[in-house]
Symmetry: C3
């Protein structure tokens, strides 16, 4: 594998999921693979799970890890041809080439502006690294995608499914702040790759990018959508149409135990308790969020492993 | 050992001190013990010695170390049942469980508010991790305790004592800012475990928690207290009674060479020169503060070793 | 080697350059040398290349690395005899001695004030560490020197030179902010050690410290200075005479492809495009800035290797 910026960089998703589950059984089995190889992790934004799980995954593979909060370095410029006499000290052209010489793989977290739809959709930061770096790039959540999360989610569903074709519902949830669509987008993509019965539920106005949702059924009635669900993935996102806006908080979309019934509850975390989902769900046996976060190690590890094997 | 949140988690303190002194002779002797084990260090507050010495200790044991400044992640919520629609993005319940999956031991630094006595006394942050984490917790200074420091102090006294029963005095010192009682508290506890003649000196109003000082002699006259002392541990703390307040700075409590006489001078560092203690003391042979800070490596290493042996 | 604070700590510069070029061929050849040795990297200022390349160099040598942003620790006091009742919590005397116990080598980045010429010239931070630390100190750019950069520059020139005695010109460039003279100073020193025809070009008022430039030819006419140059090193610095001031931005000193002609373009990075140098230069084959930054790994690695060999 040459990079992992979206889930489509994986050759064979079901096979990758099985390989990740095997790695989880024996995480240190391929420790020689990463010997004398370095992962550079670049953070433009906050991180807990992604940071620790990706670092752990790299170390499980025997890699060295160097972490840089971009705040500790220089403001980067991404525009072509700009006269850099303002706040940016370094152009991405140099930064990406330079860092490529210090690491064998570069992992990047760079959230969207949620103000400039076109810029965010272009994945200006992530794709600038893809363009100018000379080593493989791993997406640790970009403006529009979170493919390591989606792979961990798919591993979790695969581990837990008890029937041939599970019913999986992605349900929007209320949130006080405007959040990216990245987790939802990557989950939507991933569900189209698995053999599941998938649908999306959200209030009107919260439609995701139609180029991603294609012909997936969309419900505006949450109760109806959740009927007989096996897995309910709850997540807030801001409007894509009215880009980056919180249209309304619709607190009645909070997931409750009553709504969840016997389904498994999924969320990428961090989650705001009693806003996105009530305590009774998170504290129940139905919640699999901790297992999802554990699978972040193995989604990162299988991705790094496939890239290392191709270096 | 299953955790190290207070000095009372140690089975046998004198034996532990001897084991630490042996480790110091041969710090790399147990490098296989930590192989494929990870220490996660979480900082809610500033750190120099604790951060570097604990990281060094873990690496001496062959462990991997992952460090997270909580500021680089999400604001954590600690209240049960709260509706998280304000500044906290993640509940400690999830955070502690998640991080437990990425590390084999979690070390935490979390200072007190110095405003809410009940909250601080409850050790809300540390104990939330103890409650929800599924791996051993190490205290790198919490609201009311600093047990790694106290163990380093005990190692230092043990190394330097020249008589059967040394006289050890903990003497309050002036300071411009309100500081926690944690170092003093843990030292007080530790001195009760050693075979020393221990007393405390401070101006009226600076009494430590009486549940900790029990029947230890307390002097309001510093000169009298220091008479014939072998070890003088100097430290500022804010009032426990008038919780978190600097009642008065009492600059005449600054430790001087004249007051110290032949005793050894101890302090946990960082120390404000010519406020807490005069240059003439710190720059003299009587000061053992550098040795104390060196012993921080071995107090951390023996603690981590005992926890690793029990994993 | 006992420290690396200036290029003059190297015994034999031409030989060191050759050794670095050999290390570059086989970076992992001396991995046992750093076993159980720790590099502590202290940052008072922002860093990208220096941080990642020095960490990589240490790991290539098998060392452990501990990184501390001084902001995550305590404000340090550097004055002798001060009464520390203001913002500084810890004196450099303690800090340097303490850190020396946790690492085998300490590397430090500490920029100048650009306000207090005497203080900066005294290298108050770097030299305080040299004075009080008990382990070797490596300069990762101090108030007046950047010797790891100068060594990387010398490696690059040595790799690329095609004639006996190349013509090398250091040319000042415009910049919106006041920058240190450190890179220019160390490069000036280094060029006096190589067998090159070296000169400096800058507008009047931007003379570097005359104790460093000695009898090196200085040109106030950039075009004349660049004539027949083989290597043009472009760099902004603020005035040394009118200390720390941007006298004028002199935008016509920006390096262009037309001015550069067939010469190689050098810069330490980060570089402001179309202010310091135009895109057409950076994006051309003549630019060797990426190679320079790669050589930062091997300048750091040869320096750390020589220090490790002497521990």
């Amino acid at each position: 594998m040459k990079k992992y910026t979206t889930i489509y960089d994986l050759d064979n998703i079901p096979e990758t999921i099985q390989e990740a589950i095997q790695l989880k059984e024996n995480p240190f089995s391929t420790q020689l693979l990463g010997r004398n190889k370095t992962l550079v992790m670049l953070f433009f934004n906050a991180s807990l799970r992604t940071r620790l799980s990706t670092e752990k995954a790299a170390k499980n593979l025997g890699m060295d890890v160097m972490i840089l909060n971009v705040n500790d370095a220089w403001n980067l410029e991404f525009e072509e041809g700009s006269v850099m006499n303002l706040n940016s000290s370094e152009h991405i052209k140099e930064a990406a080439q330079v860092i490529s010489q210090y690491g064998d793989i570069i992992a990047i977290r760079a959230f969207p502006t949620l103000e400039d739809k076109e810029k965010d959709t272009s994945e200006w930061i992530l794709n600038s690294f893809v363009k100018y770096a000379t080593v493989p790039i791993v997406n640790m959540e970009s403006a529009t995608m979170h493919p390591l999360q989606a792979l961990a989610d798919a591993i979790t569903i695969t581990e837990l499914q008890t029937k041939q074709k599970s019913k999986v519902v992605l349900s929007w949830a209320p949130h006080p702040k405007a959040l990216p669509q990245a987790v939802a987008n990557s989950f939507v993509g991933m569900m189209q790759e698995l053999d599941v019965d998938f649908s999306i539920a959200h209030p009107k106005g919260y439609e995701l990018n139609p180029e991603l949702t294609l012909d997936i059924p969309i419900h505006y009635n949450q109760e109806e959508a959740l009927k007989d669900a096996d897995f309910v993935y709850v997540k807030n996102w801001s409007s894509y149409e009215s880009y980056g806006k919180v249209l309304h908080e619709d607190t009645n979309w909070m997931l409750t135990k009553e709504k969840l019934k016997e389904a498994k509850f999924m969320h990428c975390l961090p989650v705001r308790r009693n806003v996105v989902v009530e305590d009774a769900v998170l504290d129940s046996e139905n919640s699999v969020v901790i297992q999802q976060s554990y699978n972040r190690v193995y989604s990162a590890q299988i991705v790094l492993k496939k890239i290392l094997e191709n270096l």
